[in-house]
Structures are given as structure tokens and as C-alpha cells.
Symmetry: C2
Subunit: 172 residues, 2 copies
Amino acid sequence: MRALILLGEGFEDLEFFYPYFRLLEEGFEVDVASGSVGGVKGKHGYSFEVSKTYDDVDAADYDLLVLPGGQGPEKVRLNTTALGIVRQIWQGQITVASICHGIQILISANLVKGKHATCWPGVKDDLIAAGGIYEDRPVVIDEQLVTSREPFDLPAFCDGIFRALKINNNTH
Amino acid sequence: MRALILLGEGFEDLEFFYPYFRLLEEGFEVDVASGSVGGVKGKHGYSFEVSKTYDDVDAADYDLLVLPGGQGPEKVRLNTTALGIVRQIWQGQITVASICHGIQILISANLVKGKHATCWPGVKDDLIAAGGIYEDRPVVIDEQLVTSREPFDLPAFCDGIFRALKINNNTH
């Protein structure tokens, strides 16, 4: 199984590292991509050395896309290549998981309309305005879409990812 | 299954939160104890609300003890009640897991003599001086003792904990 995580400067540290480590623990190959290679810093000061740019990504390679929150998604959503990757993965019926502000990327990719989802309360009005059906729960699974609200939802978020993967995906 | 984590001010944030969330995801009941109740801050600024002091802990209740690293262990090792808890859990043949500077607590509790273990490189001389057999690997399992070096070992650390639990422990 192979997962992709899109990372922008100011990402929520736990929301990146928990799924990243968790997927490695489960035996996944995990690629992390950003606008440029090199160190990307989280809002709590952790740094992660990214080795792939969005241009290096072949969206067809993945069984799972994970979008951490924090301030990173406001960088990622401005990059049209990144949004193209997200749309292509989505159209392949692949599992897409966002936590907290990660939903901002899915809003900009026009993918939330009619979907049940959750997110950080501060951006729920944007989810609703984009046509999403907001729910205030630790994890919401709507077919290929898995969403959570905040760092303390991380155990439910990862459990939800593994449950969704069992239902949705083919493996690479 | 029930786990105990001992937390001191300045703990390494990922080394606490990853095992904490991971054990919750696995269905464990997880208690976190410190010198006093209330917010305990990690070195990267995350805060965790602790509801148990060391005096509130009954060491006989647990199937697993986890000792995160960072600057926290230098606080925990000064507390004789905390060291008593660690020794009592150890004597019950319960799985004890330390990562990074967490080993400092086991050194002060006089538990590393003759044991294969690993830790943050900056304190390996103290592990060796206390009679431990230092190994430079992501996870070292020596009967009831599971040890790792640093945050990027966290997937191996948790995998090691679950493997050790299968071999060592009775359940509560």
C-alpha cells in the first residue's frame, strides 16, 4: 500500500506526524510532497525533510491521500498542480482523508459538495458554503472521504482511514 | 488493557502523543500521571491536561508503562513516588517502554543493569555506566523492556511494544 501526504509550511505537527508514523508502522510506503524539496516546518517547530515536489508526483501511484491541517493547507490550496493531484486521486475512487484545516484543500478542489464531512470548527462555514454537510464528530466517513476535526481526533481519524481503505480501495 | 504514562514538564511532544494516541486507537485505557494535576507542557509547546498525580496511581492496575523522552524524565526521576511506581511495575514483570531520554528514569530506578537497551545518544554513556548494554537500533526488546532512540523510531517503538505485550503480559 502506498500513501501520499501533501505538506505546506506551518502544518499542524501532530496531524502530519501521527498519520505519517502510523502508516509506516502499518507497513505503508509513504511519500510526502510539497511545493519545493527540503525542510518544511510545522507550526510547533518540527521540521520534515520533503524529497518530492508536486511535479514529481504521479497521482496514479497511490492508495490513499492524507491532508493534515494547521496553516499548511492555505499554502497547498494555492498550488494548481497540488489541486490537480487531489482531483485525480479523488476521481480514481481512492480514499482521501483530511483533518482540521485539511478540508480547505478539498474545498478549493471543488470536491466537498453533497459530502458528509467534518473539520476544524473555524472553517466549518466554508465547508457548508461549498456544499458540504458538516457533522461535529471525531471522524466522518462518506464513501471514499474520511474527515476529522482536530489533533485529539487522531486515533479515530487513523482508525477511520483503515476502515475506509478496507471498503474502498484496490491496492498498488 | 491499561497503560500508564509518566509525564514531566518539557516532555518530547511526539514521544508522548504518538504512543498515547496509538494506545487509544488500539482500545487501551491510558492514564497519564505527573507530579501535580493540570496542564503539563511539552518542549514544542503542546499542553496535556493531566488528571492523576503519582500519589493517585496504583501500580498494580497496569499492563504497560510508557516513558516518553525530552526534558520531562529529568523531572520524573527526581520524584521518589514516581520511581517507586516504576520499580513496582517492573517487579510485576509488566512491559516497560522508554524512548529517548525516558531511559533516565529507568537508570535512576536502578533497573537497566545487564539489560540490552537503547536511548538518545546524548545519554548512552549514562546507560552504559549504569550497567546497561547499549545498542544503536530503532527498537531493542529485552524481555519486558522495550527501548527506542528518538522520535523517528516511533513506528518501530510502538510495534515493539505490541510485540512485547504479546509475549510478556497478563491482561487486566
